[in-house]
Symmetry: D2
Subunit: 343 residues, 4 copies
């Protein structure tokens, strides 16, 4: 059994990591840290884990104290809290999988621009592999420094990259990302009270959402991204509007997706003519590691659509998939849940 | 124009008071206090008031400083913050209308039992008139100390009292109250985040909810009350289960309601045989001052049902109705909104 | 009192028309038709009207039988059911206000393209005035044939036209419209069941939504529109992304909006720097006749945002505002409701 | 591999059966019937199954035509459609597991009373074993006729029976059941449109809900049950209010639950002092086969609370658990999913 530790395990992403790792047949979760909940059972903030574990949280310092007791370290802390200590984390475990935003961008200037602070470990930026198996599987097989994409970025990259790679997109990509409330995290303030968020269409990023830099980096195309919070707990959907390269037909678009994802266990191409679920819908993906991608073509324009569970394929599940790749296990291991309908 | 002040005006109840008072043709709102928002516009925390007022919040001390500039003082502060200063408030304005829980119960011991603290102004308890026009209209015409019932209590009293008064109930009343998330207020913690509250059926008071004491006081019957938070922003529904007195038939129940509320502008008797809205449903009452009451009889047992908007008939609207009674205006003044369907 | 009839009064738009007209001090609603509900009380399908009216539905033929008993005829039937009989309707009442899509587009070919059927009364198309007082007030003062814009179209036109008119937009307008479930109407099928629609992000028009033709017609710009159903009952929000004309600064955008809407009773310019409600949010507009418009500028790109209640400013309320203009009454008459927060 | 057929597989319960059976390592699903969807892929109405199966629906007659090709027959048709053909179904497969209401009650008169129709196969009523492993495990090991309890009944029986069996309840049990919208099924009418159901507190059974008869049958106590539809897609919660037998203390209640369920894989006793999830909450159970039970004692009165996913432990999951018992497999097989938080 591989021994894993999860730092920042009391948040929503941390909770999903615990759920997946506790159900993973090849992994033993030996440590979960949270300064807020130190000494308390993990099934307190994560009540869905009742009956599945007797684990309690340790304080964050336990990462040092128990160094050697774990082989892999998952980092699920808020943005900007990881980069300052990354050099030390890399000494603590053989493999580090970071779910924060700190090592997603390879260029320190772009980071500074989007995160509005200077990167404190710019020398490490280039050493991380992007934790998206669909596009980095070979590198991930031997990677010991993995940076998992942001939830909207994962959806955006998986949706845009097949066409970008095939040269089917002419010009910039306009993305509107819609997201459920869990994306704001467990410590969010009064604007995320149920009474304020219920039924909302909150354009919280009317221009230049942070994840646009990740998508631009991965696709090589200019990206202009807005983000809207809508009523759902889980789920991200990206609507990507593009001009198609001259001569591109619908069949070319379909082929590009099919070729890119024919053998992928967690990407489904969904582009039907009718029905409420004819295009990717996050509602039926909650808890699953799927990313559904689809499209609609109208002449020279196309709407490309991607959907996933922001906490799973947009975070924890994707991280576990990377772990599976890294250690040579079947990629579906521990990620078998299909999603629910209705839900 | 009557000049009014609202203390504690940045909360949800305070915001609804401002909405109603700003639209009231006989009232001028001269002062709204909030220590948190002092100096800022009232349409900041209450964005629905944009374009309707240029009023800004004053600090709470302005109640003293501007004494004499207002005739009526509405108190919309959290429970237990009002009683200690009530003696002073009564000197500041000719009429005081309190929306907190501090002066609803007439018995200091019962208060201590339910609020888990000793009352700090027990001598004033008996001097307040219950702010429920349907049952205290004559007293309210000359009352200068008015205590508005709690949201669930208002629903419970309006639902149970006609039968209790007619002697049609045998024994205790078992109430389950269901409530939307706005009842938790604007300063609630992480358990009221959208992600935690969405779709919940949260039995937050599995026994002895505080409002049971008010309903018992008003009906003279033993009351056993539970409370459940469900997904809705506004709305309270009480399901009251009783044994009917021997020989009571459905027609007697219907008559008791009809007699009690035939001339009431804000209570509707809703008891149809079929349809999604055959019994009181808070969903269609949001923003209105209605309390709908209804019933279903099965042999010797009956389910009595009441519904209202917790922030309106369960608080601010009811307070404005009391104001209308007190000053001899038509009771509907400023309370004409009907409610929406669908909503 | 002006006497009005509402045809197609049992749907959601019809219900809102009845709510507004029954509360309108200068109007008497003498007739409401519905073949499905003929003979039944209007407060059956519209339970929020209980206690406000004793009116019952008549069959649709009553429009003929009672010709002369009403001065104004509101038509709230589904699309494509109105055009065939419009010539006759125009004989029945002095003023006809149509809320269907049949007479919104002035060009029969464009209609055929977007509605996928030939127009059956093309000769009448040009005779209707667009029912949007903000841009057609003078014509509306004497108009007897009024066609009220679609809900998304109203939001889009009000949001885009000030900049389009000032020449501040360079090139096409990309719109994503998000809408609540009431937009699908009361007779929608299984895909609108709560279990299917709850929490959805349903891209039901991934390209070329019908209302794009109306916005293009009104602004003179190319429009590319998608539409997404999200969880809310009421509300439409349009996110319009444009390139600004060279040299346009944020202050120019702000000025264009302020100039266009400075004196408008029902359009508010909402563009703050922070806060959950810094941009237009339909959640706080339910039941009100407001359209909020706002914007965010990032270099040469801008996101323009509009929000309204699809059944009110996007339909019935707008129609009543047109009525007020047509008959020379204050425009706010019967439309005073402010909207709720929280909601 | 055991070969199974699912009749009535296009509904919500049928869809969940397919999800669970397709993921079950010891079962091969050879037939799924639906007259409405005959010839179409099962991932049409059940889009969450995309990529997991290529199965298509057969018409209902295929049960006859392919007799012999399956060992176990699950029946997931609407109530009253199963009893007339049950004699024939029993000839078609060695083991029949019925998820309808037709064979839950053992007494034909009680059935007629609650279902308002005479039972058409009264002679078979006594031959079915109740499909609730927690209370019928030994019988189920050899049962070939299994009737799975209703969703609210399962919750009610699991919640009440431990105390009833220990003699800790004095007198009747008053139950209010709250349920999500999926309980109304996929073919429900306009009252289950999203616009009508969103945010509702719909007291659809103000007295005598059908499932009360099942709970009374299983506990031997008088039961008085109401039912309320609230906003959630999945989930049932029962609030059961009882008088405790004289001398019963909180510790006795706790012991009764602990003893009853100490070794149960799918029942968790949840009764904490504080926290949003201190009592059973269906929100975190969606997709899982858990039934959480808890309680709060106040003197001689107690509130007993149970929660489950109406489509899983309240239907399909419970049926699969029965299958596991019947064929001697570990009970968790195919039912490992834990539930999500937040959700």
């Amino acid at each position: 059994m591989l021994r894993v530790a999860v730092a920042g395990a009391s948040g929503y992403i941390g909770g999903e990591l615990l759920r997946l790792l506790l159900g993973h047949p090849r992994v033993e979760t030996v440590l979960a840290t949270s300064n807020t909940f130190a000494g308390r059972r993990v099934d307190g903030p994560h009540p869905n884990l009742r009956g599945r574990t007797d684990l309690s949280f340790a304080a964050h310092d336990a990462l040092e104290e128990r160094a050697g007791s774990y082989d892999v370290l998952f980092l699920a802390m808020p943005h900007k809290q990881t980069m300052g200590r990354m050099a030390r984390y890399l000494e603590l475990a053989g493999t580090v999988i970071d779910l924060s935003g700190d090592f997603r961008l390879r260029d320190a200037e772009v980071f500074a621009d989007y995160y509005e602070t200077a990167h404190t470990a710019p020398g490490l930026l280039g050493s991380f592999t992007t934790g998206l198996p669909e596009w980095h599987r070979d590198e991930l097989r031997s990677a010991d420094r993995i940076s998992v994409p942001g939830c909207m970025a994962a959806a955006g990259i998986l949706t845009v990259r097949p066409l970008a790679g095939a040269g089917l997109i002419d010009g910039p990509v306009d993305i509107d990302a819609r997201t459920g409330s869990s994306g704001s995290g467990v410590s969010a303030g009064s604007s995320n009270l149920h009474a304020e968020r219920s039924g909302a269409m909150r354009l919280f990023a009317p221009t230049r959402h942070r994840h646009e830099a990740e998508i631009a980096q991965a696709t090589g195309l200019p990206v202009r991204m807005t983000a809207t919070g809508v009523e759902a707990v889980r789920g991200v959907q990206v609507l990507c509007r593009v001009r198609l390269a001259e001569g591109t037909r619908e069949a070319d678009v379909r082929s590009a997706y099919r070729e890119a994802y024919a053998d992928e266990p967690f990407v489904r191409v969904v582009a039907h003519k009718r029905g409420a679920y004819r295009l990717p819908e996050p509602k039926i993906l909650a808890g699953s590691n799927f990313c559904d991608v689809g499209f609609a073509v109208d002449g020279a324009r196309a709407s490309l659509v991607g959907a996933l569970d922001n906490l799973v394929k947009g975070g924890s599940g994707n991280a576990v998939q990377c772990l599976n790749v890294r250690f040579g296990w079947p990629e579906e291991t521990g990620l078998e849940f299909t999603g629910l309908h209705p839900n």
